[in-house]
Amino acid sequence: MSFNFQVDLKKGFSFNAASKLSTEVLYDLLIIGGGPAGLNAALYAKRRGLSVGILTKRKGGLLLDTSMVDNYLGIKAISGEDMAEEFLQHLGTLEVPIRDEAEVVEYASEDGKHLLKLSSKETYKAKTILISTGSNPRHLSVKGEDTYAGRGVAYCAICDAPLFKGKDVFIAGGGNSAVESALDLAKVANSVTLVHRSQLRADSVLTKQLYSDPKIRVYLETQILEIIGDEAMTGIHVLDKKTSEEFDLHAHGIFIEIGHIPNLGPFKDLLTLNDKGEILVDEKNRTSISGVFAAGDVTQIPYKQIIIAASDGAKAALAANEYLNQLQVLPSPTLQLK
């Protein structure tokens, strides 16, 4: 038996005042969200000489829930956590202040300044802000899902896989993350059953592995109607869409991997969104509010990928820099409104 240590020195142990965000400072750019988009934006903004800080619920964002990354150019294979650690270390060398476990709950603008209030009541201010809050796992929205959350229903395969050692589990979904979770779970579980309402849309490299794993069964064109159980979940009630037959399947747990919904927080009713609830941005990551930028998975940019989110963050930081340069020449439109 061997144990290793995933030390995150910056996260838990930092008592260093120099790396702290200040409510007194008017930042050039405040970034909400510490995933690939936000971290890369901070890197680019800092290198442009902007005063920049990050407010995030979780340093590393969804990267932390990703088991393996093997499609980021130049890095052949790395765990999501290690990749987040690399990103954070890179930023650490530039001394960008990051406030972790911070949730922005209110937004206001005042004299061209953007004010961000946290759930813990502090307010930070900046000349521009970037929303890179990413997304959260989408729910199936079927009966029983909430009842059995944490009693069989799970959303984080790397967190919860060890709890299903030798048990039977379902995976709901047909994209890359669903197939990856199925493959991960098959390493510990007794059996894995992937259930998806249409056809698989995962990369062919992954689907090949899926079909060659003897522990995994696949049900396509099968819709989950209900999660059933007593104290804990015991199975699912499904509809075979080809035959219109309804039946029950049994297992101890279900991992829901059916995509994500954008984290809009206080911006939900303030910004222009598309019909998926994603923030609409133009080619320079500008939103419908002047001085408010958005990047990564929270926007309408298609194909949610780490490398796409990261590059989008870089672009947004450069756009914010450009905006700030123009502010110095022209009076800001927000100021005129006042």
Binding site: K11, D65, I158, C159, D160
Partner: protein, 213 residues
Amino acid sequence: MQMFNEELQGQLKEVFNDLKNEVTIALFTKEGECYSCEETLGYMQEVSELSDKLTLKVYDIEKDVDKAKEYNIEMVPSIVLLNAMGEYQGVKFNGIPAGHEINSFIPALLEVSGHESDFPKDLEERIKKIDKPVNIKVFVTLSCPHCPGAVQKAHKMALMNKFIDAEMIEAETFGELSNKFNVSGVPKIVINEKYELVGNQPIEEFLNQIEAI
């Protein structure tokens, strides 16, 4: 068996410069079959050697019955942290705090040593007002990146109020207990063996639940 490499030793030594007062790590193990007891002992020995302010005391749950009772030790391996006065303030780890949980264990050492961290005043007041016994169990796995956050919050609350007792429980090590509380997703927070929260919740949610009891 060496648990820490040189790099990690160096990092931890530096972190331990911030230890304010002395902390005693009281580890309970037992003879015979005990999943991860040996590794936890090695881990704690190595940690305690990295700072003069850290002392390790090893007890046996079956032989040191009084001590085990004093700290409510019900399973092994179990670790409680005692402050400079030798007082138990409700900071407990059941199972080896390795993997991601080193990120809740090290901050707990610092906080028990008297290191104060920023905390919103209104929440502090709400925590201090609690006047009935509260036990918080935080079920974790070692591969869960956002579990240490939940453990840290529970321990922080324990340090602020003597009625609160907070324990990390490694779900794989204590499978029976995890089954009893239907743990199939972590972190799972169980308050007074009855009220459940799933996921790494903000302290407000802990408080809402506790205040509703």
